[in-house]
């Protein structure tokens, strides 16, 4: 049967990956060209095998093969095809297979693009990536077989978790996994550099782009997850500092720190050990995050059910931990030899500050996530660590980070005399104070005043950098302003794309402050035709409606929104969906009217008398839309930053042609 072939492919993938690990390490050690070539081929073949196995599981899902436990548990006949497709990552076994698929895909792409480069590093890179694949294949073969049989053929499946039947929930895990899995690539290069003792700037330069790409996916994944929580969980917020959310946020924090601190290593040749530690931490936190969400050791709404994969993860984590520490200590002398520093600069100080804050944030988040376990183990008392803790501990750190984000680029690498300092900081500081003053007048509150003031400072600092850059280009090259900005992006995307990313972060910060400090809400029960007032709006309940879909009934309440002038400005239909397979878990679809100033956000809590009256929670969420805009801006910024430099790209293209004719 085809599903046995799928399982067989996983087994052969496992065996091959194990061989490839040995081929890579040994070939690298002995400089044996045949073995090295063999490790490349293994990477490709493993990718093909995992892809085929995934295709078979996809086939099982689309063809309603309920004899498979996985399909039976995570699909049903009436499930829309789109969700049948996405059910591949809707459950434990499938999502591990998906993880493995993305990882082997990344590995194959890395191997292909670097097949003629980094001769010393690549065998080890292949071996490290295959080791990670090997671990996931072991899980799939021994502990979480996606091709397990039910033993009989059930007539229908049990359906996909209704919470996952949402567009954002389809795309969000893909983004998140692309980010998670991709962090294995820079880690593999770091380890390869350590093993091969080739610790110059080569791996650092290569790794920058390979870190930015997963970083972009991870950021997008986190933002999309927030969007999902905002639209589906119906509590007016987007981020609850839930264990699973933290699991995705931790590697983001250390990854962001790494992205910044490799810049100084590249420029100044310092922080070599620290960068190794950071990329290792990022990889470790990726595996830890996967572990905590799969094993159920931290109870969470998002967790997959308990299963057997826990002990495997624990062993792997210990191996990563001690293996890397041993490797790092054995290479310590090589990492310390290069210390050409006789002074430090202001820009470096800012980078150190950045690393300090990111690391502290990662620690506080990790600590807060696991503290309930500590507390229960040592005192027997159960406590919860949720938003109040994280807001108090992480909030001030984020504010400092935000400030540094604006200040660091102003300090520059050059000598910052008092006059230069004044010239650089005057406009941004005035802008920041102006914004803070405006907040003081409009909506008096300390935290937002400081926070939004800093946001104003950062935006002004970024604009000032752009104006300076564009003016310089205009005066030298006589370009008009648009061409000048486009050329700043094209010729120095790293710097000016980075500023765009920062701008995106500021927008997200503004949204967080608006939602956190200025949210209004009310809870009302309305009869048809009645209305309720929230903030500047009045909402009239126009009646209930229901709609039968393939696998669910959607109950919606129509509300018409009026502004202060009594003009109708829109209609929202908050919904409750009751799924046939899980009628006791109705899902929420909020009714949302977005605007740049504030969102009107309505949750349907319940209804009585055949829908003659209904209960709602109505929120007004200021500035929240900027979170999603900021997310898009951030992705654009990364794209500008990783876009190949025109001169370098030409060089690469010529190289590629040379290889093509040479082979």
């Amino acid at each position: 049967m085809i599903f046995d072939i799928g399982y067989l492919m996983l087994i052969s993938g496992l065996v091959l990956a194990a061989y490839g690990v040995i081929a890579g390490f040994w070939g690298g050690q002995k400089r044996n060209t045949k073995l090295i070539q063999s490790s490349f081929n293994t990477v490709y073949v493993v990718a093909i095998l995992v892809l085929s196995a995934s295709a078979i599981l996809w086939y099982g899902l689309l063809a309603d093969a309920f004899e498979l436990t996985y399909v039976w548990n995570h699909s049903e006949r009436a499930l829309p095809t789109f969700y049948k497709f996405s059910a591949l990552w809707g459950g434990q076994q499938g999502s591990l297979l998906f993880w493995c698929l993305l990882l082997s895909g990344y590995s194959a792409i890395v191997a292909f693009f670097n097949r003629k480069r980094h001769q010393l590093l690549m065998p080890y890179v292949n071996a490290i990536l295959l080791t990670t694949s090997l671990f996931f294949l072991i899980l799939l073969v021994f502990a979480a077989n996606p091709f397990k049989r039910v033993g009989f053929i059930p007539p229908d499946g049990q359906g996909l978790n209704p919470l996952l039947q949402n567009y954002w929930m389809v795309i969000h895990p893909v983004m998140l996994y692309l980010g998670f899995v991709g962090m294995a690539v820079p880690f593999a290069f770091a380890v390869a550099a350590l093993i091969s003792r080739k610790l110059d700037n080569e791996w650092v330069r290569t790794v920058r782009r390979w870190t930015l790409i997963p970083w972009m996916f991870l950021s997008a994944g986190i933002i999309m997850g927030s969007q999902w929580a905002y639209m589906e969980l119906g509590w007016g917020g987007y981020w609850a500092w839930d264990a699973v959310e933290n699991a995705s946020f931790l590697p983001w924090l250390t990854g962001t720190a790494f992205l910044h601190s490799i810049i100084i290593q590249e420029q100044r040749g310092i922080l070599k050990v620290w960068n190794m530690v950071l990329i290792w931490l990022t990889y470790f936190l990726v595996i830890l995050g996967t572990f905590t969400t799969r094993s159920g050791i931290l109870e969470s709404v998002h967790s997959f059910a308990r299963s057997d994969v826990g002990p495997y993860f624990l062993v792997f984590l210990i191996l990563i931990m001690f293996g890397f520490i041993w490797l790092l200590f054995s290479r310590m002398p090589l990492l310390r030899s290069d210390h050409p520093i006789d002074s430090y600069t202001s820009r470096e100080a800012a980078f150190l500050g950045n690393n300090w804050l990111f690391t502290a944030l990662a620690f506080a988040t990790l600590w807060g996530t696991f503290f309930p376990m500590f507390s229960e183990l040592l005192t027997g008392q159960r406590i919860s660590v949720a938003a109040p803790f994280f807001n108090k501990v992480n909030g001030p750190l984020f504010l400092m980070l935000l400030f540094l984000m604006g200040a660091a680029p102003l300090l520059g690498w050059r000598h910052t005399s008092l006059s230069a300092f004044r010239k650089q900081f005057t406009i941004p500081i005035i802008a920041g104070l102006a914004v803070a003053g405006l907040v003081f007048v409009v909506a008096r509150s300390l935290y937002p005043m400081v926070g939004l003031g800093i946001c104003g400072f950062v935006v002004a600092a970024i604009l000032q950098e752009y104006v300076r850059g564009a003016m310089a280009r205009r005066s030298v090259n006589h370009e008009n302003i648009f061409v000048a900005v486009a050329n700043l992006w094209r010729r120095n995307g790293r710097r000016y794309g980075g500023y765009i990313v920062h701008l995106g972060i500021v927008m997200i910060g503004v949204a967080v402050i608006g939602n956190e400090f200025y949210q209004q809400s009310t809870n009302v029960t309305l009869n048809t035709g009645e209305s309720a007032k929230v903030g500047r709006y009045e909402l009239e309940f126009a009646g209930m409606e229901s709609n039968r879909e393939a696998n669910r009934i959607e109950f919606g309440a129509r509300l018409i929104i009026y502004d202060e002038a009594g003009k109708a400005i829109g209609t929202v239909i908050p919904q409750r969906n009751i799924y046939d397979k899980t009628p006791d878990q109705p899902t929420t679809e909020v009714g949302l009217q977005m605007s740049p100033i504030e969102d009107v956000y309505v949750v349907l809590n319940g209804w009585e008398n055949q829908g003659e009256s209904a209960t709602f929670t109505i929120y007004v969420n200021p500035l929240t839309v900027w979170m999603w805009i900021g997310g898009i801006v951030l992705v654009l910024g990364v794209l500008i930053a990783i876009w190949p430099h025109p001169v370098l790209r030409r060089a690469e293209g010529m190289q590629a042609v040379a290889y093509a004719t040479g082979d």
Binding site: A243, Y344, T379, P388, T525, D584
Partner: protein, 153 residues
């Protein structure tokens, strides 16, 4: 496993029998400061379990009796333990939850400071803040930009 304790959504939102002069918004203002003890990381005001709506009824009752918000919170801590607070209480072992991150922030700052000083091999006079040292080989683009800027100035 937990399926049998989930209350029906419609049921959960049925108006409570006890008619009090307290509005739902008053109750939610308190509920926003409490966490559902049966769930993981769900705030009481957005929790739809029957147990949560009972808790909200108790809040309404206590508000109607004129109980202070802090006392209401203390009552729930006594009933269910500190997990309803959403943060570790600042007492006993749980102090560690708050102090360790602060210690790491301060310790990290001290560590970086001493390391950065060590990197500067020749000790400088005290007033040498990092901002005032120059002589860095800048990245090529910054140099170019600076040149362009000089022309522009």
């Amino acid at each position: 496993m937990f399926g049998f304790r989930i209350a029906d959504a419609q049921d959960a939102t049925a108006p409570s029998a006890a008619a009090t002069p307290v509005s739902p918004d008053d109750v939610n203002a308190v509920a926003k400061q409490l966490w559902c003890p049966l769930c993981s990381n769900v705030r009481l005001d957005s929790c739809e379990l029957k147990a949560c709506s009972q808790m909200k009824d108790v809040i309404a009752q206590q508000l109607a009796d004129g109980t202070e918000v802090q006392e209401i919170k203390n009552y729930f801590v006594a009933q269910y333990g500190p997990q309803v607070l959403g943060e570790p209480p600042m007492e006993g072992f749980n102090w560690l939850a708050w102090l360790l991150p602060i210690a790491v922030v301060i310790g990290g700052a001290a560590f970086i400071w001493t390391r950065a000083r060590k990197m500067v091999q020749t000790p400088k006079p005290e007033d040498d803040t990092p901002d005032q040292i120059s002589g860095m080989p800048a990245d090529p683009y910054a140099e170019k930009l600076d040149k362009e800027l000089k022309q522009y100035d």
